[in-house]
Subunit: 462 residues, 2 copies
């Protein structure tokens, strides 16, 4: 990894140098041997002006790949800054599934403006792709596949393949259709190039096709590609007409997305929070707002559960008249709220650390503190009111509310600080597990409770 | 999906029929159009005798693929039952990375016996592969790649490729080495077949190779394949000599493994527990034993944290003399233990449900109950002793111990029952999140505490 990092720092310096001196040809030559993703890495580190300058001198196919990989903001900015015809040429080279994904994030009028720039065929394909649900196989498929008619000879098929190879996402599988465009077979490039010229495709192809419907859940495509070790899987409609393919790189992207989605769900947050956290240029305020929005429903749910616990517990305190004992019944919910918000903070931090390290530092602890403060204020007001109703003692209700608030602020800061510190000290965060964090948070919570009640003791033991 | 299930039931019946009537040729013909994974599915549903019979009539390449995908038990059984020369032929066709994975699970003498069956070249490769750490890139790479010398022409390279295509895991990337076997470039099949015959490979290849070292962590290979959308990544040693490749299907397997590994870790369990839970023929006792072993260290850690909480809380109970108030201080740890074991049970159930549905049913609830009982006995003895030391009241200590025990048994049963029931009712378990389960478990825990203390009330309020 160090090797790679050194390389990319060096490349960044070189690119900056050449851009400043307007050495376009040398720059093109230098970048020729680099992968699109490396150029994209360099681009992200350049300032706005240099970014546009670099983008303008890149070859069209590289520009297209860059747009495929970067977000919709970058796409919009670049296309509005460069010459319309240049933009058209780049759009023509873009993979349609990636283009569709970006378009689906744009405003309606912008979307229409871009579609008008496309050639007729692409425009139609994109419109069709835009019609699919995001979570369906249709939503991740591309139309960049090679199909041949079942009656072609191997020689004709190879010629056809060579002609259409440029627009194809993969040429390693060739799909065979009948005269009604129905999928009837699949051929690997391997089989095709080792076949005699005169063999008819029907005799060469495998008829046992593993395919998905265009309205299937995309997880089905993941399962099948994984089970059968495929490089691509064809997508057909309910009439078995071939509509597109999903390539293995998109399957990997879906797997990564679903894995973090599941983790967020389990931790009591939402995908939206991650999207904002990993967006390179989201502001602190945006991040705090999205975190609060994602977590507050879960926290309120936990709060209601905790209040139920407290109420049941007060029923077991058969020592009548001693309100202080009833006060103690609120300890589980106080600890629970700090622990919950802390778990959310630590899960988010762990996930961001393992996905996108550059995007996170100790400022996160402050951000989490702010999230804890806002969610804590909401929860402490609710619990304060409820505690007053149950205990009929204002001082105790206030102390409980203060405990919840401080516990939630501290809990979320500790929750995010722990993985960051471990990463900083040992580089390894895989030793953290959820019981470990929850034990830590419970201990901190009870110590805070001890300190706070001791301070307010004279007020509550009346 | 229903379509697929119907298909496989039909296939199973047909295969059983043909096997019983010894119609070998018809059977071969039938299976010709099926994917190895489908044949493996059928095989798993056959009884032992039919399994061997089917395996014997399969073509050698299909048998090899079947062995690659099935576990080491199946591998050992089959190879000991079939003719030695037939076994040799099958081994020859197996992918070396899969063969190595299986061998690494066998006893030393069995391992040696299999290696002796291999041809010299394969045996050497396997021995080298066996030397790598399981978590390193070397541990998942295969030697089934195509390499050409940089000085070959495109025509020579294509001929070379065709000759070696059979042993290769992928022919879509061709790796270019110099006379010292050092990796100097990479060529896609696409570039090669569209090149003029006389072009020298050096002029065709890309020199910007994305590769990993054979002692790198395998997660680095996953990152690079995912980032650069590769179909395979070459593995070199520290002298840049090409040692193997990792293909995208193995990358997907690693991703799946790591994702569940992370989830297990987060839930406070271990990979070993999952392995046993997903093994098709593990006994109930094996499963219980592995679950107890995996979870008890975390549970004891949580118990210690909970005791710390209880001790701190007793310090805030400034109402001297009232032991009952101190007794209440144990509520958080009682709820915590039930919640923790319940979370472990529900995480395991959710993961098994999403990975391998056939392997789990309502018997799991009983299994989890047993796990809760064993871990609960250990934890309740510890907490009982500690409670007696702290409270100096035997009756209260016993009630606390009973509460922990019952809470842990019920918690683990509810934790596994909830996702199973949701799956059964709605088919969708993605609506479950960890806060939801923990709220539910807390509520159940506190109700149980209420019931138990009410029953023993006369004993503890003395």
């Amino acid at each position: 990894m160090d090797r790679k990092n050194d390389d990319s720092r060096l490349l960044l310096e070189q690119v900056n140098d050449l851009l400043e001196n307007n050495k376009v040809l040398e720059l093109r030559e230098l970048l020729e041997e680099y992968h699109t993703m490396d150029i994209l890495d360099v681009m992200e580190d350049l300032d706005e002006e240099m970014k546009v300058k670099l983008f303008e001198v890149l070859p069209i196919d590289v520009s297209a790949s860059i747009l495929e990989e970067s977000g919709s903001d970058f796409f919009r900015t670049m296309l509005s800054l460069i010459d319309v015809q240049h933009g058209r040429n780049i759009l023509e080279q873009m993979s349609l599934d990636d283009l569709t994904d970006i378009l689906s994030e744009l405003e309606e009028d912008e979307k229409q403006r871009i579609i008008n720039l496309l050639n007729k065929e692409d425009a139609e394909d994109v419109k069709k792709l835009l019609g699919y649900e995001e979570e369906s196989t249709g939503g991740i498929m591309t139309t960049g596949y090679i199909e041949v008619n079942e009656n072609m000879t191997a020689k004709e098929a190879i010629e056809h393949m060579r002609k259409h190879a440029e627009d194809a996402e993969t040429i390693y599988y060739i799909y065979v259709v009948d005269d009604d465009e129905k999928l009837v077979g699949v051929l690997s490039l391997r089989e095709l190039i080792t076949a005699r010229d005169s063999v008819v495709v029907t005799d060469l192809m495998s008829e046992n096709i593993i395919s998905v419907y265009d309205d299937d859940d995309r997880e089905l495509a993941v399962k099948l590609v994984s089970k059968y070790d495929l490089i691509a899987i064809p997508v057909v409609d309910r009439d078995n007409v071939l509509r597109g393919i999903i390539t293995v790189d998109d399957i990997i992207d879906v797997m990564e997305e679903e894995a973090t989605e599941d983790l967020y769900k389990l931790a009591g947050s939402s995908e939206h929070e991650r999207d904002v956290a990993e967006k390179p240029n989201s502001t602190m305020l945006e991040q705090i707002a999205s975190s609060v929005r994602a977590r507050i429903p879960w926290l309120i749910l936990i709060l209601i559960g905790g209040l139920f616990t407290a109420i049941i517990l007060t029923k077991t305190t058969f020592v009548e008249g001693l309100t202080y004992v009833k006060f103690l019944c609120f300890v589980p919910v106080i600890l629970g709220m700090g622990g919950s918000v802390g778990m959310q903070a630590s899960s988010l931090t762990i996930m961001t650390l393992s996905n996108n390290e550059e995007n996170i530092d100790f400022k996160t602890v402050l951000k989490e503190g702010a999230v804890g403060l806002i969610t804590g204020l909401v929860c402490s007001i609710i619990i304060g009111i409820m505690a007053y109703v149950i205990l009929n003692n204002l001082n105790m209700a206030i102390v409980i509310a203060i405990c919840v608030l401080i516990n939630m602020v501290v809990g979320s800061m500790i929750g995010s600080f722990t993985p960051l510190m471990l990463k900083h000290l040992s580089g390894d965060i895989s030793i953290i597990s959820s019981p470990l964090i929850s034990v830590l948070l419970d201990m901190i919570g009870v110590v805070l409770f001890f300190i706070i009640t001791t301070i307010f003791l004279s007020k509550i033991v009346l």
